[in-house]
Amino acid sequence: MKEKISGLSIKLITSVLLLSVLLCAAISYMGYREFTTVLEDEYNRSAYEIAETAKSYLDPDRLEHYLETGEIDAAYLEIQDRLDALVVSTNSYLIYVTRLSNDYTTSTYIFDAVHPDSGFTRYALGYTAQDMDPAYQDEVEQIMTTGERSAVYFYSYTQASGAHTTAGIPVKDSAGEIVAFLGVEKAMTALENARQTYVWNVMGITVLAVVLFLVVYIGFLRREVVSPILTIAGEARRFAEDNVARLDLLEQIRKKDEIGTLARAIGRMETDIVQYVENLTAVTAEKERIGTELNVATQIQADMLPRIFPPFPERDEFDIYATMTPAREVGGDFYDFFLVDQDHLAVVIADVSGKGVPAALFMVIVKTLIKNHTQTGMAPDQVFETVNRQLCENNEAGMFVTAFLGVLEISTGRFTYVNAGHNPPLAALGGRPYDWLPSKRGFVLAGLEGVRYQQQEIVLCPGDSIFCYTDGVTEALDPADALYSEARLRAFFRGRDLEGRPLAEQLDLLRRDIAAFAAGAEQADDITMLLLRINKTTGRDEHG
């Protein structure tokens, strides 16, 4: 696998380089310091040896004489020659013997030997100069009064003479009196070059060591860090694309360090995610299955309601139309109508408590029971009492249903009805405006055992209408949670000119009115409506 130097490597290498540069600088500086000290020490010691040698050439007792008389005799010249020879042979700049003033600022030269290559000229006997460096005065005083060597190495660098070191010793006469100061200045020519070479060597070795280290280190980084991390990253990328856990690559990284931990964590994550996705897929499939089944349930429920209009094309004595608009999910509303026999039409509207599959199942039972019993020709109150008893028998869930059942004797218009806790229908009777059909209230079905229901009876004339509905109509909400209400419902039927319009159109108008009222608010409950209109009565019982 070919890898480029990654960002991580660059960061690590940069830090190592920085460290190396700092280390190199520190080593060079310390070496430079140490080297300089040792070499200066050596040069200075050598200067002192020269000074001692020079002192041995002198005749201290005569120095005073030379100064006072200025006389240059043969002995003076001989000493001077020897000093000159010494300057050359020891490769010193200067060897001089001076008398210092009491305040050590002024030197009066007695001897002065100068190296021919130094560029200096010899000061003659008796030459006086105020040439003592103020910085050295204390040291010179120390030397002259105690006769000891200075602890400070005179060292200076001048443009003219380069780096040089100075040795200074007192000269005593035979009586032990200090009579003069002997100084030697020696160039440290080797120092500069040697020191430079030394520094370059140190730097060179350090750089070489750093480069070697980096080569090894980069190799190590690649093998131990970058390569495994790239493997992990590649594996993670691959996994993100195809979502298949493949642990073989990750298991190759058998490390006990953090990278190994990371590899194991990624591996575990892959396995977990695959597991999770599998679970999710299963759950989603299950949800879809349930959703499909619920849709089928809704469909079955809808199919249970008579939905072909007109249902009895051959019967012109009445018109009937009904709709159910379910809310979000399968609900518990239903309507029903059927011919009990040729002269009797039964209409039912009901609302099971609650929603969803339990309500739908309960609704199926209720609808079946009511239809079965009604079709035996049983009176409506008897039907409800029987159905109620049967529903109460096994009703652990505590479901109940409000229901209205009416049976119309088609020939006479006699309408017998019973109400089990349901919203009373609206009726338009005898040309009068719509109003609530007077109904004795009875308790809901399946609520309590042994409830008695009382049926009532009216006679419907041609032109009369009865509108049955569930509370989804009157309890439709607008965005401010206000109810559509019975008052609005009655006002709709009274206010609109519905006379003569097809029933389907009337209910459609009502549904639009409710939708306009809701103004986009979600429909919370099923809206179920049934409208029955009497067209004619024969005025006699066909079977009686």
Binding site: S353, G354, G398, M399, F400, H422, R441, V444
Partner: protein
């Protein structure tokens, strides 16, 4: 309706449980009251429901009331207070006025 638009406030003393309801008792909120009653009715001899904050009751709510009424008929009594006009109408239509004690 996404939020549960009903709050239940319970106070119990000496076998009397007072429950004040606020908001709407409908399909969404009825299970909340049902759970509440299921867990707290044992040992209660008097259940008082305060409906002064209740705006609306649906058939799902009626079902919970009916269940509570049945339970309390066995172990004491249940009364409902401060019923507003809308809810009273529902009680009347459904015949619940006959079986509930509304004061």
């Amino acid at each position: 309706m996404e939020e549960i638009a009903m709050t239940i406030t319970k106070t119990a003393e000496n076998g009397t449980l007072r429950i004040a309801l606020e908001g709407r008792l409908d399909t969404n909120t009825a299970p909340q009251l049902e759970t509440e009653l299921k867990t707290s009715l044992s040992g209660i001899s008097e259940l008082e429901l305060d409906f002064s904050g209740l705006e609306y009751i649906s058939s799902a709510g009626l079902r919970v009331l009916l269940a509570a009424q049945k339970t309390m008929s066995r172990q004491g009594k249940m009364t409902i207070r401060n019923v507003n006009e809308t809810i009273m109408e529902v009680f009347e239509i459904t015949g619940f006025v006959e079986i509930l004690t509304i004061v």
